[in-house]
């Protein structure tokens, strides 16, 4: 595995810019294509939002950590939190064939992640939720 960088911050929505700057910084240092850059930023955004909203009980200050590396033209990011065990990937995919009138307005975030990266996996390890993302850049 290549050299891994990481950033750990309080799991708050306001930390989004820091998390996305981390992603961009790492990808830009490795000559990422604009499309892969956008898709990886968006995938991390969707997963990080979930952590800030659902990982910790209301009123409890938690943490989130992002780890990333690029090796052989593939970026790997891991988003980790110490919250309650929860696998967002188990959420049922939305019906994307529904008309505008029939659709709910939410529920697309996790599904979008699955369409934007090559691999996404969840694991609960050492008391932490860990989401792994891989995509060619």
């Amino acid at each position: 595995m290549g050299e891994e960088s990481f950033l750990r911050i309080p799991a708050r929505l306001e930390g989004m810019d820091l998390i996305l700057s981390f992603v961009s910084y790492l990808l830009d240092a490795h000559g990422c294509t604009p499309q892969a850059r956008t898709q990886l930023r968006m995938a991390v955004e969707e997963l990080y939002v979930n952590v800030t909203l659902y990982a910790y009980p209301s009123g409890e200050e938690g943490w989130a950590e992002i780890r990333g590396c690029v090796e052989n033209g593939t970026a790997t990011f891991r988003l980790i939190d110490g919250g309650v065990p929860f696998n967002p990937l188990e959420k049922e995919d939305p019906d994307i064939m529904l008309s505008g009138e029939e659709r709910g307005i939410g529920g697309l975030g996790i599904y979008m992640v699955k369409t934007m990266v090559d691999e996404v996996e969840y694991e609960y390890r050492d008391g932490c939720n860990q989401l792994l993302l891989k995509r060619k850049i």
Partner: protein, 99 residues
């Protein structure tokens, strides 16, 4: 995100510049809440915005429903490669008018 809006009779055009993400999507929501009354045709110009996350899609879907109920229309124009992919992957390319 920077938003520039122009009203011409019952037509409203909004130009978006920057990224429409979890932090910025509420800005479009707030602008539309203020400006959408009486509008029959809404044009959203994405020439300078090619990053739209699910938070942005939520605002677009809610606005689409609002316009449909008011018997109006909503068009997305100058849609870039990344946003077009998002629309295609979520099936919203068949829902919204995209030009």
């Amino acid at each position: 995100m920077k938003l520039t809006s122009k009203k011409n009779g019952n037509e409203l055009t909004v130009q978006l510049s920057g990224e429409m993400n979890t932090m910025t999507a509420p800005e479009l929501s707030a602008l539309l809440a203020k400006e959408l009354g009486g509008v029959k045709k809404l044009i959203l110009d994405f020439a300078e915005c090619d990053y739209v996350s699910s938070a942005g899609l939520r605002v677009l879907l809610a606005t689409f429903k609002q316009m449909s109920q008011a018997k109006g229309s909503m068009e997305l124009v100058n849609v870039g490669v990344n946003f077009r992919n998002v629309l295609k992957n979520t099936g919203l390319d068949a829902v919204f008018g995209i030009f």
